[in-house]
């Protein structure tokens, strides 16, 4: 059944996404309705729990939430830079013709991707960092988070590079570009477009994963919320600000990812 878009009644345009674009008011109305439905569901759940809310004691500790939130930003930002560097380096190493480098890169990526981050943090901090004499737990925390995210980023970068058609590389060779020049002028400019959206998504994961550093007593957002929880015996009051705090960091990044995906869709 095919109804021309323009002739369809208003109620139909309100509920269905049209093929030739949906009016903004339909989007807004439906987004608000979905939000209300989800809020109503949460409200119902909270009512069912029969929980007695007591925000007073948690409010006393508000500074702890802010400090933890800032530490989470700091750790995530540091890990973001380091992991990008590790990721690009590993992607290049895995393309290397020096076999030991190629295999070392592969083993690193597979080890990281096949074990839980929680286990990696414990082993890295209490075994490797201890043996290496790294006493500062924040340095160790950023290092393990970077190693973890770096493995995933290297896969993103690798797929970005490998997506470039073989014919382009042959053309580059044909016009006499060296390997370094090929990377500089042919591969990277195109790969960056491919890589940027999934990379931003990876940073969202990185921010969320940083919460696991709480197990080695790094006083980031999650540990501080847990401490407030323990100090006030509250339970749920600390978790709601915790969720909101992470959303505040990750939602803008997620929305930006969406925009990047849109912008680069037809770029190559």
């Amino acid at each position: 059944m095919c109804i021309p878009e323009q002739d369809s009644p208003v109620w139909r345009r309100l509920f269905h996404a049209g093929e030739s674009g949906t009016p903004w008011w339909a989007h807004t109305a439906n987004a608000v309705a979905a939000l209300l439905l989800i809020s109503a569901f949460f409200y119902y759940c909270l009512r069912q729990v029969g929980y007695e809310w007591n925000w007073g004691p948690v409010w006393v500790y508000r500074q702890k939430f802010v400090t933890g939130w800032l530490v989470t930003i700091g750790i995530s930002a540091a890990a973001l830079l380091t992991s990008t560097f590790i990721g690009v380096a590993t992607a290049l190493i895995r393309r290397s013709r020096i076999l030991i480098l190629h295999h070392a890169g592969t083993i690193y990526v597979e080890l990281i991707r096949s074990t839980p981050l929680l286990v990696q943090i414990l082993i890295f901090f209490y075994v490797i960092a201890n043996a290496a004499g790294v006493q500062n737990r924040y340095v160790a925390g950023v290092a393990i988070l970077s190693l973890f995210a770096g493995a995933y980023i290297s896969e993103i970068v690798r797929s970005g590079i490998e997506n470039i058609a073989e014919s382009q590389l042959e053309s580059a060779r044909a016009i006499g570009l060296s390997e370094a020049q090929t990377y500089r002028y042919v591969i990277f400019p195109q790969a960056i477009r491919q890589v940027l959206p999934p990379l931003t998504g990876q940073f969202v994961s990185l921010i969320k994963d940083s919460s696991l550093l709480s197990i080695i007593a790094i006083e980031e957002f999650t540990l501080n919320a847990q401490e407030v929880n323990a100090n006030t015996y509250s339970g749920l009051e600390s978790y709601l600000p915790l969720a909101a705090g992470y959303l505040l960091l990750t939602l803008p990044l997620s929305l930006w990812t969406r925009r990047l995906e849109h912008r680069f869709r037809y770029a190559t």
Partner: protein
């Protein structure tokens, strides 16, 4: 959710006892993974007293009071100290065990006592939500306090020299020192005395009074001596040798 709120006959339902099974020999899992220990035996004795089945719910320590408040469990028997702060959130039975906070110090760290730890160059490990965590937050304001989720991690921090000391109760401190005699030393004289009690949802006075009756009767018929013999014989002997009064 509907099932939880809607179920009617409370007598049919087992008594839900919350504890963290990470605190041997009080709360732990045996080789086959079943709950075991002093508190588990105590919970089952309480169940016999109430003529009700008992189900042990394994919940992290800092999640026990929230679980009690939200009705996921009926009471807490988890080596929990009855403190004033906790009493704002839950009601406590009469105390059933007396103990105190002790210090597990790294060997050669020259920890003379709790005052020696309140310095900027000192690092103290505590387990989250425990009374030693509260103590460190309130009294060790100069020291660097590490808050960890697991007792084992706290001990590891001391052994590796990342922390000068780990603050915990006497029995655990003794047990940890016993296992790591080469790396640690124990200061077992308590710097803060405390008593453990059963926690019950606020206002549930009938259950609280029944638990009190049970504890008194259990003590009278020698139940706590049997628990000591079954789980704590070695520790009691060590405490007797050191001249400390035992916990029950």
């Amino acid at each position: 959710m509907i099932a939880i709120s809607g179920c009617g006959n409370r007598e049919e339902r087992p008594l839900l006892v919350g504890m963290e099974l990470a605190y041997p020999p009080f709360e732990m899992s045996d080789e086959s993974g079943r709950p075991a220990g002093v508190s588990v035996d105590l919970a089952h004795a309480l169940g016999r007293h109430l003529q009700q089945d008992v189900r042990i719910e394994n919940i992290p320590f800092d999640g026990l009071i929230p679980a009690l408040k939200t009705g996921r469990i009926d009471l807490i028997i988890s080596s929990m100290t009855a403190t004033e702060e906790r009493a704002l959130s839950v009601d406590f039975s009469d105390p059933y065990l007396r103990t105190g906070l002790a210090i597990l110090a790294g060997k050669g760290r020259n920890v003379a006592g709790i005052e020696a730890l309140n310095r900027p160059e000192r690092t103290v490990a505590v387990k989250i939500g425990t009374t030693s965590h509260t103590y460190a937050t309130e009294h060790l304001t100069q020291a660097n306090v590490l808050v960890l989720n697991k007792e084992s991690a706290c001990v590891l921090e001391v052994i590796q020299g990342k922390a000068d000391a780990f603050l915990y109760d006497q029995l655990s401190t003794y047990r940890n020192w016993n296992r790591h005699r080469n790396e640690t030393e124990a200061l077992l004289v308590p710097f803060q005395e405390e008593a453990w009690a059963v926690a019950i949802r606020k206002g549930n006075d009938s259950l609280r009074l029944t638990v009190n009756d049970f504890l008194a009767a259990f003590r009278k018929e020698g139940g706590f001596d049997r628990l000591t013999e079954a789980h704590l014989a070695e520790m009691k002997q060590a405490f007797d040798e050191l001249g400390y009064p035992f916990v029950f």
